[in-house]
Amino acid sequence: MTDPTKSGGASHLDLAEREHTFLDANELVLNMGPQHPSTHGVLRVILKLDGEKVRGTECVIGYLHRGVEKIAENRTYTMFNPYVDRMDYVAAVSNGLGYCEAVEKLLNIEAPPRANYIRVILTELNRLASHMLWLGTHALDIGAITPLFYTFRDREEILKIYEKYCGARLTTHAFRIGGCLYETYDGFEADVKKFVSFVTPKIDEYEELLTTNRIWVERTRGVGVLSGPDCIDLGVTGPVLRASGVKWDLRKAKPYAAYSQFQFEIPTGQNGDTYDRYLVRVAEMRQSLRIVSQAVEGIPEGPIMAKVPKVLKPPVGEIYHSIEAPKGELGYFIVSDGSTQPYRIRVRPPSFVNLQALDKMVRGQLVADVVAVIGTLDIVLGEVDR
């Protein structure tokens, strides 16, 4: 990454060096972000370019660092619950699910089945919303402006269901430790069913715009390739891992909530390039719909809240619990000292770990690919920086 021409010192310009710099041109250091249209927030990538070719990257992150883990140590378990929504604010429901389940595990209690079904429905809708937002912005990065509006239109329907359910649209705080606070509203099932039948053809519509679009295929195929072993070595999870051909999904590998009761498939790709990641995510959207329709059909009656003490004091101990968030494995490592406040909470953020793969993916590719790869990694800076 270090530039040999620079360290040589520019005191004397001998002919050889002059010729070298003239013919090979200088290495250009381009500072992309933190204010850049397609770094999805406040990511700063320092690109070392040779012409348009990327010779190396360095991510500068932390612009959105709020010290979530420190805050957790100074809040009670219940009070910290809304904070997790602010990490991956695009998939706030998933964050909440992971946290609640982790604490429940630490307390050694279980949410009742009805609560688990509600959780699955809302979480899968959230995965859909997250993927829709990803698809729109990713397409926008690659220059197609129209899918953004299509996906936002349909994401709106999901947010409406959230709003009816718990009053919030984005950072929902939908779940509580031990279950759900709110019973489903009247017509919840009908709304969800209506949404499923509404959005299924819409996904075809997105695919019509992009899947066979020559420019889209050329822009994404063979770009940012990550092989399966590379993914595992880099700890990359979620759709990015699956697009590289590793059939691994925590919903199947270590089922949580009510996922063991549903039929669904894990879509995988073969090449591990941007195009495969796109296909995998679109296929995941369809699988999510499948889970949602199964869950809404079979939603059991019963309580929605387990018996949870008013003041939560988990016994001394540690727990690591992770779920399959839309971006990958979202884990919570909680250390309890027996008091009302967690002694330590560590969040294993999928975006943070996935972002690490950026350098490997864009080296030797063009500037335009950097944008495509940042898009395809589907990072949310709130979660990267926490």
């Binding site: 310009l13 003239f22 013919l23």
Partner: protein
């Protein structure tokens, strides 16, 4: 075409060509020089037009101003301007310079003294409408072979440039 205000345009274009020509060699910043060169080329195109050679004028604009200067600027932009400005602009071959200037001066004096007879008098003035056709006929008919040789030479130059620039083909 009905030539309008010909002397005015002639002097205007000549003055522009000369001034921008001087700017080309005196500007320290290579980009400024290149821009001045563009104006020189454009005014030359205007002069060609006044000589009833519209085709040459058009080609001058397309190839020189629109094509070659773009490449010039392309290359210049990649060169660090600040370093170029530090280097000395004129090399020290003033002896040769004076000789060349003197020779040119002699030539000018000769032309002035002898009048028009230095150059062969143009007897037929080609109709403007046929100018382009005439160029084509000469290029692809009478001077076919030199034209093709010239294009072959350019091809060789292109291949050479590719070989030099690309380390691995």
């Amino acid at each position: 075409m009905n030539p309008v205000a010909t002397p005015f345009f002639f002097y205007f274009l000549s003055a522009m060509a000369l001034i921008s020509g001087v700017l080309v060699i005196t500007r320290k910043n290579p980009v400024h020089s290149a821009i001045a060169l563009i104006f020189t080329l454009l005014s030359l195109a205007g002069l060609y037009l006044m000589l009833y050679a519209p085709f040459v004028a058009g080609v001058q604009i397309i190839l020189y101003a629109g094509g070659i200067m773009v490449l010039f600027l392309f290359v210049i932009m990649l060169v660090s301007v600040s370093r170029v400005e530090r280097e000395s602009q004129f090399n020290k071959q003033w002896l040769v310079g004076i000789a060349a200037t003197a020779a040119l001066g002699v030539l000018f004096i000769l032309v002035y003294a002898k009048g028009k007879s230095v150059f062969p008098e143009r007897t037929v003035q080609l109709p403007e409408q046929l100018n382009t056709q005439q160029v084509a006929v000469w290029l692809y008919g009478t001077y076919m072979l030199p034209f093709e040789i010239a294009s072959l030479l350019l091809l060789v130059a292109i291949v050479g440039a590719v070989v030099m620039a690309k380390k691995r083909i």
